[in-house]
């Protein structure tokens, strides 16, 4: 049986073609979970590139689905704010948004971002490469052979939380907490997981803050170090942050370094299984790993969208986005826009310009860790090719119930030499 056979896609493709556009709700978390989002977004790109939805749970919001429109909105920070004061970067409005630099406008955003930027400097990446490679080798060498296991748990989660622990200089034995906090920060309360309410989320994130406050206190009194906690504790723009702002920036860095890379690590295995010709191409020419990594990140688009809030009325596609309206820039859709990318629904590991994709965002909020993410994925695939002739997906992937995080909780695989 084909593990990627999707029993829902035919029905949703039909539905996406026929229902009135007013009935579209692009941010329905089920679409990503069931992997049926594409036909809806392809019709939106075609017929309603700026779409308005009155959603009962998250409130009314606009959707942008074309590559070019998203790019133009990204650089128009005067009109489109990221600030947590207006609701931040996700569609759901919280009673009290967490302040974090991705959810700040200029100039504060720039000042805080600059504090953590050195963690991914070219020199730092170079010095981390060896460590990342050793760990990756260890994780891969420990995998069982000819036995089914969950790739998400044994590889993707393990590798990403080790990386995060290093970046924060976080106690290694406790590193599973980082994954737990990351998942807690992003979980949809209706997803049936451990985060069943905002109150539960707050309680768990308070534990995260308490833990990290201990680390802060240790490091603020020590010489400035090269880990993220020390950088924040000593950085001119961050050393006087309120505890909530510290928590916000921690959540940003944890989620930013965790979910995204983890899900791309899993996505790559899926895409190569769905495209055996590309897998053969890769084995015949391992030098393609580098361009494949960018293609995996495009194809996965681990963060489906980012939200902005209009600071003034704005005309687009003959409609007016009103001051105060919220807007989702659907990266996942822009990355499948045929006007910007040739054969966008095809997974092609040797594209001419593979880095032209929206997954990292563009403009001043562009992902600060993009090169590190690429490095981790590149090393993973280089080491996989050294070891396994094949990673075979043997059961259907389970995807996350979320409109924001495009990810996996389970991917049953077998590896063979």
């Amino acid at each position: 049986m084909d593990p990627f056979h999707n029993p829902f896609i035919a029905e949703h493709t039909g539905r996406a073609r026929t229902i009135p556009l007013e009935e579209f709700s692009p941010a329905n978390p089920k679409y990503m979970e069931m992997d049926v989002w594409q036909p809806y977004f392809s019709r939106l790109r075609e017929e309603a590139p700026l779409h308005y939805c009155e959603d009962k749970i998250i409130g009314p919001y606009w959707s942008l689905t074309r590559y070019k429109d998203i790019m133009a909105t990204e650089v128009n920070t005067r009109v489109f704010s990221s600030s947590s004061t207006f609701g931040g970067i996700t569609l759901m409005d919280q009673r009290e948004e967490l302040p974090m630099f991705i959810a700040m406008d200029q100039p504060k955003h720039d000042e805080q971002r600059k504090v953590v930027q050195p963690i991914v400097s070219p020199q730092n990446l170079e010095s981390m490469e060896k460590l990342i490679r050793q760990r990756t080798q260890k994780v891969l060498d420990a995998l069982p052979h000819n036995e089914t296991f969950n790739w998400v748990e044994k590889v993707s989660i393990d590798l990403t939380n080790m990386m995060l622990a290093t970046l924060f200089d976080f106690p290694f034995e406790d590193r599973a907490l980082l994954t737990y906090w990351s998942d807690s920060a992003t979980a949809n309360t209706l997803g049936g997981g451990h985060i069943d309410s905002e109150a539960t989320r707050e309680r768990i994130l308070a534990e995260c803050l308490a833990y990290f406050t201990r680390l802060w206190n240790e490091r603020v009194n020590a010489e400035p170090g090269s880990d993220l906690v020390s950088m924040l504790a000593h950085g001119p723009a961050t050393r006087n942050m309120s505890p909530r702002e510290y928590l916000g920036n921690l959540v940003l860095l944890i989620v930013g370094g965790n979910d995204t890379t983890r899900n791309s690590m899993t996505g790559g295995v899926c895409f190569l299984n769905q495209n055996p010709d590309e897998y053969a191409k890769l084995r015949a020419n391992p030098a393609l790993v580098e361009s494949m990594v960018s293609e995996i990140i495009r194809y996965q688009t681990p963060l489906a969208y980012m939200r902005r809030t209009a600071l003034e009325d704005f005309e687009m596609h003959g409609q007016t986005i009103r001051k105060g309206d919220k807007l989702a820039m659907w990266y996942a859709s822009g990355n499948r826009d045929g006007e910007a990318i040739d054969n966008p629904d095809q997974f092609i590991i040797d594209r001419a310009r593979p880095r032209q994709h929206l997954s990292f965002g563009f403009g001043i909020h562009r992902c600060v860790g993009n090169r590190l993410a690429e490095l981790q994925l590149r090393i993973l695939w280089e080491e996989i090719l050294q070891r396994f002739s094949k990673i075979e997906v043997v059961g259907p992937p389970k995807r996350v119930f979320s409109a924001f995080i495009r990810g996996y909780t389970e991917l049953p695989v077998r590896v063979s030499r």
């Binding site: 790019m71 133009a72 990204e74 650089v75 200029q106 720039d110 971002r113 600059k114 930027q117 991914v120 400097s121 070219p122 880095r355 032209q356 563009f362 403009g363 001043i364 562009r366 600060v368 090169r371």
Partner: protein, 106 residues
Amino acid sequence: MPSATFIDHAGQSRTVEGPEGENLMRVAVLNDVPGIDADCGGECACATCHVFVDEAWLDKCGEPSELETSMLSFAATAQPNSRLACQIILTSALDGIVVETPAAQH
């Protein structure tokens, strides 16, 4: 057509020509000059077309916009003569401009 010289990190220099009005990033990419990534395609939104402009030419390039200044402040290895190549428009006044590309675009 005005010409532009790109010197890579290893010191190798390449002189290419481009039509007036074209930006320096595109002139490089269209002529297969290595060392310029241009992930955003010239929207001043990625800072992966970062170059160091030869001091003799810096003033002639005009002032960077606010957005360019912000983007540059996030580029690794930014220096006072850093610019984004996609924001420099080739004109006859810039005929012969010399820029250096960094070790890596980041």
